[in-house]
Amino acid sequence: MRKLLISATWFLFILIIIFPISFIVTGAFEEGWSGFIEALTRPEALHAMKISLYIVVVVTIFNVGLGILFSLELVRGNWLARWVKPVINAIIDLPFAVSPVIGGFMIILLYGPETVLGIFFASFGVDIVFALPGMILATMFVTFPFVVREVVPVLEEIGEDVEEASRTLGASKWRTFRQVTWPSIQWPVVYGAVLTIARSLGEFGAVLVVSGNIINQTQTVTTLVYQDADYFNVVGANSLALILCLISIVTLLVLDGLKRRQEVLRSEHSSEGSV
């Protein structure tokens, strides 16, 4: 029975994950190394990488920075009425439930060229839809929960006592945050940031809808993969897919390492407590 179950598990993993991934590798190298390199260094590929990088950097900075502030206010802020917190909590989760296509569509509805806001921004020469700002907004929407969801439970767990202790010892707010709060949330923040980076790099549906997928303008790596696949450019699609796949694997390894680290820290923490 045991052997059967273990074999079944291996079989499922191979069938569903390992075997399909091997096809990306063979697809990418169908024309050898040179084809692979060529596919990655095409002008449209390089441009797409640049756009993806922009999005990742801007989205990560915003969502990490504001995510931390948000978590702090959500957990510690006593200015929020009691009933408001669960509402905000629920709102934060919403992006997880929304189909990426709808995520992109919302931006079009709100900031599209024919809407009030769209016309308003256009008067300053800023296009949101079918341009970078819209793509960034859409990606920010999709990745918003990651940092907050990692940091809030930790803040709740450590409680306010240590921070109050620091303040009674005369430390300023900033000093308290830097020396007392930050050390305990830094790894959750990093964890959330890694998730944010990975997801903003990989986001496809929302970006596709908002960007219009204009080659050499608003095309990201994922939308280029889609276009290549659509045009039966096997090597092109698979080469970029392989790179994205490798990045995902590295991301998973980093997250795994962080998780292990946290577990070790936590177990040290609890063993100290019990002594």
Binding site: R2, I6, A8, T9, L12, I16, I17, F19, P20, I21, F23, I24, T26, G27, L66, F70, E73, G77, W79, I91, I92, D93, L94, A97, V98, S99, P100, V101, I102, G103, F105, M106, I107, L109, L110, F141, F144, A198, L201, G202, E203, F204, G205, V209, T222, V225, Y226, A229, D230, A237, N238, A241, L244, C245, S248, I249, L252, L253, L255, D256
Partner: protein, 266 residues
């Protein structure tokens, strides 16, 4: 005074961020949806193609979730209860389908199932095609929802009191009976929570399905791809109406998930 000003500024920014990023866009969909008027809305939703897309999506998401319940529970069980070589690697691999950009997953299955590949040829020779039909959609949905049930069930299995299992043995119960009567009830909350997540993800999935379903109206066109098509052809009404339906469905699932989670806490 300056301190207070700073405080209010910060709060306004945070609330503003939430509104601009999440609340306003989501409301925009609903506002747009209701501005159609009820009869118009109803007409758009019950359009043959739209209605088919919606029901197809729900039906296939249910099937994919049921498949996932079986394989997810099996994998979670094996990964927590047994020791075997390679276990650690498999355990890390569980999250890969979630981490992989959906466009990449789509290309991947396109490569596997295309009639030119040896898998495609093999399947073809026995008269099966898994590309550009409903089974392709199920494959895509099963792939992207792979981690949810495994990850929801694993912690419950880890926390399962080994003594309870042994108590069942000492009372004469077989392994199978013990699984059904003792282990399964303990992991049921995880299975429910995981399958709700999986279901909602399957409903929303776009990237993989767009590439491998063929997107044939009335046959393999799912709701998210339908919305995309309507946006592409500048039919805001059609996109809005189906979006409202899909969104409402997703929120409902999210709400039920939170409800069950809260009950699980007690």
């Amino acid at each position: 005074m300056r301190d207070k000003l700073e405080k209010y500024a910060l709060r306004s920014i945070l609330i503003g961020y939430l509104i601009v990023l999440i609340v306003a866009p989501l409301s925009a969909v609903y506002v747009q949806g209701f501005s159609l008027g009820l009869s118009n809305f109803w007409k758009t939703v019950t359009d043959e193609m739209a209605l088919h897309a919606i029901t197809l999506t729900i039906r296939l998401a249910v099937i994919a979730t049921l498949i996932q319940i079986i394989i997810g529970t099996l994998i979670a069980y094996v990964l927590t209860r047994y020791e075997f070589p390679g276990k650690r690697y498999l355990n890390s691999l569980v999250d890969l389908p979630f981490a992989l950009p959906t466009a990449v997953s789509g290309v991947m299955f396109l490569m596997v199932l295309t009639p030119n590949s040896f898998v495609g040829q093999m399947l073809d020779s026995i008269g099966i095609s898994l590309l550009f039909n409903q089974s392709a959609i199920i494959i895509g949905m099963v792939f992207v929802t792979f981690p949810f049930i495994v990850r929801a069930v694993q912690p419950l299995l880890e926390n399962l009191d080994e003594d309870q299992v042994q108590a069942s043995y000492t009372l004469g119960a077989s392994k199978w009976r013990t699984f059904c009567k003792v282990v399964f009830p303990a992991i049921l909350p995880g299975i429910i929570a995981g399958s709700l997540l999986a279901f909602s993800r399957a409903l929303a999935e776009f990237g993989v399905i767009a590439l491998i379903s063929g997107n044939i109206p009335m046959e393999t066109l799912v709701a998210s791809v339908y919305i995309f098509g309507q946006i592409e052809s500048f039919n805001t009404e059609g996109a809005t109406a189906v979006s409202v339906v899909l969104l409402t469905f997703s929120f409902l699932v999210l709400w039920i998930t939170n409800l069950t989670r809260r009950r699980g806490d007690i």
